[in-house]
Symmetry: C2
Subunit: 301 residues, 2 copies
Amino acid sequence: MSLFGGIEAGGTKFICAVGTDPDNLQSQTRISTTTPEETLGQVVDFFRQQQVEAGEIEAIGIGAFGPVNVNPDSPKFGWFLNTPKPGWQQIDFLGLLQRELGVPHIGFDTDVNAAALGEYQWGNAQGIANFIYLTVGTGVGGGGMVDGKLMHGLLHPEMGHILIPHDVIADPFVGACPFHKDCLEGLASGYAMEKRWGQPGASLPPDHPAWALEAHYLALGLINFIFTLSPERIIIGGGVMEQKQMFPMVRSQVQALLSHYLDVPEIVYDIDNYILPPKLGAKAGFSGAFVLAAQALELQA
Amino acid sequence: MSLFGGIEAGGTKFICAVGTDPDNLQSQTRISTTTPEETLGQVVDFFRQQQVEAGEIEAIGIGAFGPVNVNPDSPKFGWFLNTPKPGWQQIDFLGLLQRELGVPHIGFDTDVNAAALGEYQWGNAQGIANFIYLTVGTGVGGGGMVDGKLMHGLLHPEMGHILIPHDVIADPFVGACPFHKDCLEGLASGYAMEKRWGQPGASLPPDHPAWALEAHYLALGLINFIFTLSPERIIIGGGVMEQKQMFPMVRSQVQALLSHYLDVPEIVYDIDNYILPPKLGAKAGFSGAFVLAAQALELQA
């Protein structure tokens, strides 16, 4: 059986793994996202060591924070583009790994599309052709599938940056996005929570009003994704959603905001199975990256 | 060559046509959308007469205002669902035409998806696998293609109902949507313009502030569709967009709101070819319905 490398390249941390699926891992590591030189150097070191210890890595899959070039026909396939992350603009991530590791087959997509693919293969999106995978952590990002295929397009979805209603009387926080101030990410990311309340979200008690406000903004975002994409299911991962009180609040606010316009049974009667966490949890990203690796191997072989 | 019927079933009017493509029409008619009995009766009468005068109609395609059931595997395929339009809820449109006209092959989708299909076949979306077709008329609706296939999902997109920022100081109008008040449609439809300004949009001069406000709301909607779907092109039809001043204003507001987050050349340097009107104009809907008819014939034959 082929051995794969999987990388979830997030804005806060890179998770690297070697294995074949979420239940069959040779090794796994967590690398902080600092400078490209430091972080990517540690990624290369990890896989080099694995090439010695675990054996030949036939293909690598990468799910990366955006914006990135995910078009295999482009000369910049696998590059970080104009990301807001200082120092990470215009870097040939895929090319670096090919050169440094000598692995010819590398698959590449966004971090959220990789996680979506993991959930499609092994998790809560099995058999679901149209679904959204959203992550609400330091940032907010979204991807998923339409008709059984990962969403791409001119570039790729950047769902965190949609603009939603913001009642500045109820919530005078100006927003934390360097590009759009009070877009969804600017209002509802973990970073925005910390900026608004002066302390990390995780340190706020479950009955703090911060959580109802957070659920409200996320529900506004979900409503817009539902009206735009009509997904059959919505999976939400990321640190913010690990707060147990969040899913029930988000679900009831989505129902309230839809205001019975879409009276589909999946939303009206079965919302616990419509909006839910990833089955693979934090493993979704690198597991989906294994699938990207397998697809690259098959496609390029 | 097969003769097809095409129906653009809109909330204001039904356009029915018989022919093979937008440049080869046997007949065309416009029927006001009143009660289902009256309107659908006139639709049946038109096609019966055409069956006598033009010859056998092999298949019919329908593009209908929503929400409708577009799932061919559902027993309610081709039904109007809980539309806000009084009297039109839970009506078996497709079944009625099959019974009354004896045409076995009927294709069915939303009005905007039909128009998208027309533009894909003969218009401004030829060769574009990922695009949005938006209509801004009495209502606001959107559809389009992802990876060369019409967008469906749990139901179908209802893009007009996304929630966007609404500055109630600058624009105290409460919104015209019976479900969500100030959603995109509630703020930017032709109906909303008439309610806000006390006269039809078409009667307002091109330099009236109504148009800049309208362009602002449409740009907010487009931004959200761009961040969610990453379309390669956006086609906007409908009566409101026939105002010549609208396209330049919408384009420049989209660029301003994106705030250089997506520095793709298609948007930064070539926005006139990124956001544009339908080549087929008002023919897009029924022409796309011809394609739905042809597909139904092929699929069911």
